[in-house]
């Protein structure tokens, strides 16, 4: 898999060197981008043996802002928890125990049901060495799967480039309910689809405008030229695809975005997952989907806000799972949550928590072997800064997703092998 070089003897590195890297705008966008002329991207991708390894689909849900793991999977038997969190530990009383030590947040009712059915794996204490407390820096680490911060491409973007023909099938990787390509999906050579709202994803003015735009966005010069042209051709492919898929799909579960969040980014997780379901059940060839729920940066009055987020997350995931199950597709889809960090075990004066370190990752779906993995966080033994130590490298989780679920080679993406966390069932075929 080392033919990234392409046909003209140009390597990706040459492009990076020749100054085509761009987009490192705000430090917020820690991951870089680079443009590659359209014709070269085509050559590179067509040179690859494009084979779909299996019919599995991955849905990543980003909990943006740093989800408080201790308020999600609550250590009910820990006296340290109550000592550190005199206010927030009120959540323990109403939580739903899964064993004598841990309980799921009271609003994670659907997830509790799925947990009891053996369809939820929770990996505890997930993090990485020398953790960053910066949102952007830590997001970049998770997105690129590279704590050394050398990698620019997203881990999912790399998985797509190395294993699928995204130029021929731009829906292989798709971000729903957002306007830009998420960092985890980003890769120099991947063609990706972004759909904010499926109801407005079409050309105003119809086919004539579409044809004109197809012509207008051809051979555009400049460093952004290929990006613009690819974006427009992706729009046209996607519009055509949605035209057929919309006719074949009716949701078989109740998705609702009518929730009162104390504050969060726009409430459309359920709509985004409903679109994800449409793309999956209508056979569009989608492999990797990414959706985001924001609002987890709970520095103040965390109780109400986190409660609302948990309830919303739970209802959206549950509807998604039930919808897939009703279509007989649940056995193909793995849902995984990720967040840039957990939060400080000790609560602050504002009734919230500051940036922390390790936290649990949730893996949901029929392909999952349910239960608790990783290590119980030790609240009695915090580090110098008052944070939890991590027990499982987040790349162990990625490795299991890539290798055991998607059936692709994880090593070229992660750069090395990690200890296995076997939360994916062995695949039948």
């Amino acid at each position: 898999m080392k033919q990234i070089g392409g046909t003209n003897g140009l390597t990706r590195r040459d492009f990076l060197r020749s100054g085509l890297v761009f987009g490192v705008g705000a430090q917020a966008l820690a991951s870089g981008y680079a443009a590659v002329p359209d014709f070269l991207a085509r050559a590179v991708l067509s040179a690859k043996s494009a084979g779909v390894q299996n019919d599995r689909v991955l849905v990543m849900i980003q909990l943006a802002g740093g989800n408080d793991g201790l308020q999600t999977l609550i250590p009910i038997s820990s006296s340290s928890y109550r000592d550190l969190r005199p206010q927030l530990s009120a959540a323990a009383q109403k939580a739903q125990p899964i064993d004598k030590d841990f309980a799921l947040h009271e609003n994670l009712k659907g997830l509790k049901r799925l947990y009891d059915d053996g369809k939820v794996a929770i990996v505890q204490g997930v993090g990485y060495p020398s953790p960053s407390f910066s949102h952007f820096d830590s997001i970049r680490v998770w997105e690129t799967a590279d704590p050394a911060r050398k990698q620019q491409d997203g881990w999912l973007g790399q998985a797509i480039v190395k294993n699928y023909d995204s130029l021929g099938h731009p829906l292989v990787g798709c971000a729903c309910g957002t306007t830009s390509i998420p960092g985890a999906l980003r890769d120099l050579q991947a063609t990706l689809t972004v759909i904010d709202d499926v109801r407005t994803f079409g050309f105003q003015g119809g086919g004539n405008v579409e044809n004109v735009m197809g012509t207008l966005y051809k051979s555009t010069p400049g460093i952004y030229g290929a990006l613009f042209d690819t974006a427009m051709s992706t729009v046209r492919d996607t519009v055509a695809q949605l035209r057929t898929s919309a006719a074949k799909y009716t949701p078989r579960a109740a998705y609702t975005d009518k929730v009162q969040l104390v504050y969060s980014s726009k409430n459309q997780l359920a709509a985004a997952l409903q679109l994800a379901s449409e793309l999956i059940v209508t056979g569009t060839g989608v492999k990797v989907l990414h959706v985001t729920l924001g609002g987890f940066d709970t520095h103040y009055t965390e109780l109400n806000r986190h409660d609302a987020l948990m309830g919303y997350l739970d209802s959206a995931i549950t509807a998604f799972h039930d919808d897939l199950a009703a279509y007989g597709m649940a056995d193909r889809v793995l849902i995984a949550t990720w967040s840039e960090f957990g939060r400080r075990p000790k609560e602050n004066a504002s009734g919230g928590t500051d940036h922390g370190t390790a936290s649990p990752v949730f893996l949901i779906g029929d392909p999952v072997k349910g239960g608790l993995y990783g290590e119980t966080p030790n609240l009695a033994k915090l580090d110098q800064l008052g944070n939890l130590s991590y027990a499982v490298d987040f790349r162990s989780v990625y490795q299991e997703i890539l290798a055991s679920h998607l059936g692709v080679d994880a090593r070229p993406i992660l750069g090395q092998s990690f200890e296995r966390v076997p939360f994916v069932k062995a695949q039948a075929s």
Partner: protein
Amino acid sequence: MTEERTPKTAKRPRRAPRGIRRRHVLLGAGAAAGALAVTRVLGLHHLGDFPTLGSPAETAKPTSLDWISPLERPEAQVGHLLRRATFGATPAEYELSVSDGFKKTVERLVEIFPAEPPALPGADEATREKPLNPLNVQTWWLDWMLKSPTPFAERMTFFWHGHFTSDLRKVNPQTPFIYWQNLTWRQMALTNLQEILYQVTIDPGMLRYLDLGTSTGRSPNENYSRELMELFTMGVGTYTEDDVRAGAKALAGWREPLTRAMYDVLVKNAQEQGRQVPKNLQPDIANTGVFERQRAYVGQVKFLGETRQWDTKAVLDKILSQDAVAPFVVTKVVREFVTDQPDAAYVKRLADSFRRSRYDLRTLMRDVFSSQEFLAPTTYRTLVKGPVELMVHMAKALETPALARSIAMAGNGMGQTLFDPPEVGGWPSNASWISSNNVLARVNFAQATLTGMPRIPAFKDAHLLHLDGVLSPATAQLLGASPDDATRWLILLASPEFQLK
């Protein structure tokens, strides 16, 4: 309508707009399919003859083409400046600047005092009972972006809105704070960094957005302390976690002000529920944060290497004394206005001057626009307009200032809702604006705007005015083939060229 009835044989002028010539076209490429469709784009049913521009050789494949910089021409220099230092120009603004020339225009933009927008009725009195309507606040600001006589000050206000960002969801429309923040950001926009940081730190919206307003010396909240250093001034890696904690202690003591209107609602609610209003609760006169000594941290802490009893101004001065600040802020400015990849020597030159000037923003911005790098051919069209810049420029090009509300509503689908950035780091930039979703939304906005206009202005030389006459083969061909001004406008506004600055 009358045009439809025009007989086919009538000698209607069918000239391509002036200035679209081969030499502006970089390389020939076939555009026949689009040219066929282009005659019916707006549903105006133009019948008749098709493209007049000859079709160049079929499907010449592009090599790694770049835009040919026109920046040696004075009018292109001015166009480049107005696209980057303002939100693009109306024909009148453009002509004034062309006649003034580049240098004089830079001086005029930088030296002028920011014009205040008209007050937003009711905004000062926002309360739980009469919250701000977010769409109204967004429209109010966009309207001023379209109409302000000092568009550079507006552009800088917008820059600070992305840099020192806050979102109205957390700040909460039940207060006037986000509205006040916009007024403050404009007033401070072209002062100096010391003044700016103080205004930002005690801004009621910021006190709420980054939690300094609830931080106390006994139990400090780290949010503001961290972002002050990481995002506002120094950058990640230039301070330690201990500095974040020490800074949180040193800055604690501020609280939000309580407006008269908010106070009245509290009193009224208390009376209705038969509760006592706390005796010491009084409305504040100030529209900034209120410092309460008893909430502050008493004692010495070590912050950025120095141990002492701190106050807010001393913390900010300590930060401003760090070598990381000038390059950090300059890099952000340069990426916004000049190039995404500034070289180190350029940043250093600007940063040295910025620091020597005691962080004076007018000095910095004059240096930036007057720098050789700003007009270097390699910077031409290397920045991507954000949605607000794009749509405001469209409205200015169409001389239609009544579009503020449409722009406010369309921003969401392109990833830019004013006062509601996606994250504490502010807005994305450049390549991250380019996704299939956003390209479609941008094209749709152009189409919807033109369709909704009762009268579309004459196209004249819009491609020279707004695009310096530098067009891709496809754009040139489609413009040449367009049967009417409405179609020409659509091609221009939806073109990749117009997305760039």
